[in-house]
Symmetry: C14
Subunit: 84 residues, 14 copies
C-alpha cells in the first residue's frame, strides 16, 4: 500500500463515508416509492386486463420520475468520490 500522510488518510475517510451515506440513504426513498408504484400497477393490470400496455408505459414514466432523486444521489456520490 502506498505511503500516506494523516491528512491524506482523513480525505479518503471523509470521501468514503460521505459518498457511502449519500448513495446508501439516497436509495431508500426511490426503492420504496418505485415498489409502491409497481405494486399498484400489478393490481391495476389484474383489474383492467385490456390496459396492460397503457399501464406498463405509465408505470415506467412514473418510475422514471421517482428514480430521479436516486440518480441525483449517484451523481453527488460520484462528485464526492472522483472530483473533490
Amino acid at each position: 500500500m502506498e505511503e500516506l500522510s494523516i491528512a491524506q488518510a482523513l480525505v479518503v475517510m471523509g470521501k468514503a463515508i460521505g459518498a457511502g451515506l449519500c448513495m446508501g440513504i439516497g436509495a431508500i426513498g426511490p426503492g420504496i416509492g418505485e415498489g409502491n408504484i409497481g405494486a399498484h400497477a400489478m393490481d391495476s393490470m389484474a383489474r383492467q386486463p385490456e390496459m396492460v400496455g397503457t399501464i406498463t408505459t405509465r408505470m415506467l414514466l412514473a418510475d422514471a420520475v421517482a428514480e430521479s432523486t436516486g440518480i441525483y444521489s449517484l451523481l453527488v456520490a460520484f462528485l464526492i468520490l472522483l472530483t473533490l
Copy 2:
C-alpha cells in the same frame, strides 16, 4: 495523491459528509412522495380508462412539484461541493 495540510483535509471531509447527507436524506421525501402519487395514478387509470392522458399529465405536474425539494437538495449539495 497531492500533499495536504490537516486543515485542507478537514475541509474535504466536511464538504463530502455535508453534501452526502444533504442529497442522501433529501432523496427520501421526494422518492416516497412521488411513489405515492404514481401509485394512486395507476389506480385511477384502471378505474377511469378514458382519462389516461389527463391523469398522466396531472401526475407529471404533481411530480414536478414534489420533485422540487429534491432539486433544492441537489443545488445545495453542488454549492457545498463546488463553491464553498
Copy 3:
C-alpha cells in the same frame, strides 16, 4: 488547494454540515406532504372527471403552501453557506 488555518477549516466544515442537514432534513416533510396531496388529487380526478381543471389548480395551491417550509429550508441553507 489554497492554504487554510484550522479555524478556517472548522468554519467550512460547520457551514457544509449545517447547510446539508438543513436542506436534507427539510426536504422530507414537503416531499411526503406534496406526495400525499398529489395522490389524493389523482383519486379525486378519477372520481369526478369533470372537475379536473378545478382540482388541478387547487392541488397546485395546496402544494404551494406545503412547499413553503422547503423554501424556508433552502433560504436558511443559502444564508448559512453564503452570508455567515
Copy 4:
C-alpha cells in the same frame, strides 16, 4: 478567506449547525400536516363539487395555522444566524 481565531470558528460552526437543525427539523411537521390538510381537501372537493370555493378558503385558513410553527422555526433560525 479572512483570518479567524478558533473561538470565532466555533461560533460559526455552532450557529450554522443550530440554525440548520432548527429549520430542517422544523420543516417536517408543517410539511406533513399541510399535506394532510390538502389531501383531505382534494377528497372533499370531489365529494361536494359545489363547495370548492368554501373548502379552498378553509384549507388556506387551516394551512395558515399549521404553517405557524414552521414560521417560528424560520424566525428562530434567523435570530440564531443574524443576531446572536
Copy 5:
C-alpha cells in the same frame, strides 16, 4: 468579527444548538396535530355543508390549543437566546 474567548464561543454554540433543537423538534407535534385537525375539518365540511361556519370556529379553537406547545417552544427558545 469581534474578538472572543473560547468560553464565550462555547456559550454561543450552546445557545444556538439548544434553541435550534428546542424550536425545531417542538414544531413537529403541533404541525402534525394541526394538520390532523384541519384534515378532519375538511371532511366534516363536505359531509355537513350547512355547518361550515361552526366547524371553522371550532377548528380554530382546537388549533389554538394544539398550537400552545409550539408557542411554549418558541418562548423557551427566546429565553435561551436572549436572556440566558
Copy 6:
C-alpha cells in the same frame, strides 16, 4: 460580551441544551394528542350537529388534561433556565 470562565460557559451550554431538549421533545406528545382529540371532535360535530356545544366543552376538557405534560415540560425548562 461579558468575560466568562470555561466553567461558566459549560453551565450555560448545559442549561441551554437541557431546557431546549426538555421543551422541544415535550411538545411532541401533547401536540399529536390534542390534534387527535380535535380531529375526532370535528368528526363528531358533523355527525351530531345539535351537540356542538357539548362536544366543544368536552374537547377543551380533554385538551386541558393532554396539555398537562406540555406544561410540566415548560415548568421544568423554566426551572432549568432560571433557578438552577
Copy 7:
C-alpha cells in the same frame, strides 16, 4: 455570574440535561395516550348523546391513570434538579 469550578459546572450540566430528558421524553407517552382516550370519548359522545356525563367522568378517570407516569417524570425531574 458567580465563580464556579469545573466540577460544579459539570454538576449543573448533568442535572439540566438529565432533568430535561426525563420530563421531555416522559411527556410523549401520556400526551399521546390521553389524546387517544379523548379522541375516542368524542366519538362515543356523538354516538350516545345521553351518556355525555358518564363518559366525561370515565374519560377523566382514565386520563388520571394515564397521567400518572407523566407525574412520576415530573417528580423525578424535581428530585434531580432540587435535591441531588
Copy 8:
C-alpha cells in the same frame, strides 16, 4: 454551591442522566398502553351503556397491570438517585 471534586461531579452527572433516562423512557410504554385501554373502554361504554360500572372497574384493573412497569421505572430511578 458546595465544593466538589471532579469524581463527585461525575457521580452526580451519572445519577441525574441515568435516573432521567430511566423514568423518561419508562413513561412511554405505560402512557401509550393505558391510553389504548382507556380509548377502547370509552368505545365499549358507548356500545353497552348498562355495563359502565363493570367496564370501569375492569379498565382500572387493566390499567393497574399496565402501570406496573412505570412504577418499576420510578423505583429504579429512586434507587439510582437516593441509595446508589
Copy 9:
C-alpha cells in the same frame, strides 16, 4: 458528600446509566403489550357481557406472561445496582 476516586465515580456512572437504560427501555414492550391486551379485553366484554368474569381472569393471565420481561428487566437492574 463522601470522598471518591475517579474509578469509583466511573463505577457509579456506569451502574446508574446501565440500570436506568435497562429498566427504562424494558418498560416499553410490556407497557404497550399489556395495553393491547387490556384494550381488546374491553371490547370483548362489551361484545359478550356474560363473559366478564372469564375474560377478566384470562386478561390477567395474559398480562402475567407479558409482564415477565418487565420483571426480568427489574431483576437485571437490581443486580446491576446492588450486587455488581
Copy 10:
C-alpha cells in the same frame, strides 16, 4: 466503597451497560409479541365462548415460544454480569 483501579471500573461500566442494554432492548420484542397474542386471544374467546379452555392453553403455548428470546436475553445478561 472499596478501592478500585481505573481498569476495574471500566469492567464494571462495560458489564452494567452491556447487561442493561441486553435485557432492556430484549424485552421489547416479547412484550409486544405476547401482547399481540393475548389481545387476539381475548377477541377469540368473545367470539367462541365455548372454546375458552382450549384457547387459554394455546395462548400460553404461543406465549411460551414468544417468551423464549426474552429468556435468552436474561440468560446472556446473567452471563455478562456474573461470569464474565
Copy 11:
C-alpha cells in the same frame, strides 16, 4: 476484584457490549414475529374449532423457523462471551 490491565478491561467491555447488543437487538424480530404467528393462530382456532390440533402443530412449526434467528443470536453471543 482481581487485578486487571487496561487492555484486559477493554476486552471485557467489548465482549459485554457486543454480546449484549447481539442478543438484545436479536430478540426483537423473533419476538414480534412469533407474536404475529400466535395472534393469527388464535383467530384461526376461533374460526375453525375443529382444527385446533392441526393449527397448534403448524403454529409450533412456524414458530420454530421464526425462532431460528433468535437462536443464532444466542449462539453468536455465547461465542463472543466464552470463546473470543
Copy 12:
C-alpha cells in the same frame, strides 16, 4: 486472564461489537418476515382446511428463502469472529 497489549484488546473489541451488531440487527428482518409468512399461513389453513399439507410445505419453502439473509448474517458473524 492472559496478558494482552492494547492493540490486541482493540481487535477483540472490534470483533465482538462487529459480530454482535451483524447478527443482532440481521435477526430483525427474517424474524419479522417469517412471522408474517406464518401468520398468513395460519389464516389460510383456517380458510381452506383441506390444503393444510400443501400450505405447510409452501410455508416452509417461503421461510427457507426469508431465512437466507439471517444465515448470511450468521456466516459473516462467524467469519468476523473466527477467521479475521
Copy 13:
C-alpha cells in the same frame, strides 16, 4: 499481517465503514419495494389466473427499475473499496 502506518489503517477503516454503510442501508429500499411488488403480483395472479404470464413479465420489469438504486449502491461500494 503486513506492516501498516496509522494513516494507512485509517484509510482501510474509512473504506470498510463507508462501503459497508452504503450497501447495507442501500439494500433496505429495494428489498422492501420489491417485496411490495411481488406481494401484489401474487394477489393479482390469484385474482386473474389467465394473466399469469403477463403479470410475471411486468413484475420483473417493475423489479428491474426498483432494483436500480440497489445496483447504484453496489457500484458506489465497489468504487469506494477498489478505486478510491
Copy 14:
C-alpha cells in the same frame, strides 16, 4: 494471540464493524420483503387452490429478485473482510 501494532488493530476493527453493519443492516430489507411476498402467496394459494404450482414458482421468482440486494450485501461484506 499474535503480536499486533495499533494500526493493524484499527484495520481489524474497521473491517469487523464495516462488514458487520453491511450484512446486518442489509438483511432487513430482503427479510421483510420476502416475508411480504410469502405471506401474500399463502393467501393466494388458499383463494385459488388449483394454482398452487404456478404461484409457488412465481413466489420463488419474486423472492430471487428481492434476495438480490441481500446477496450484494454479502458480497460487499466478503470484499471488506477478505480482500481489502
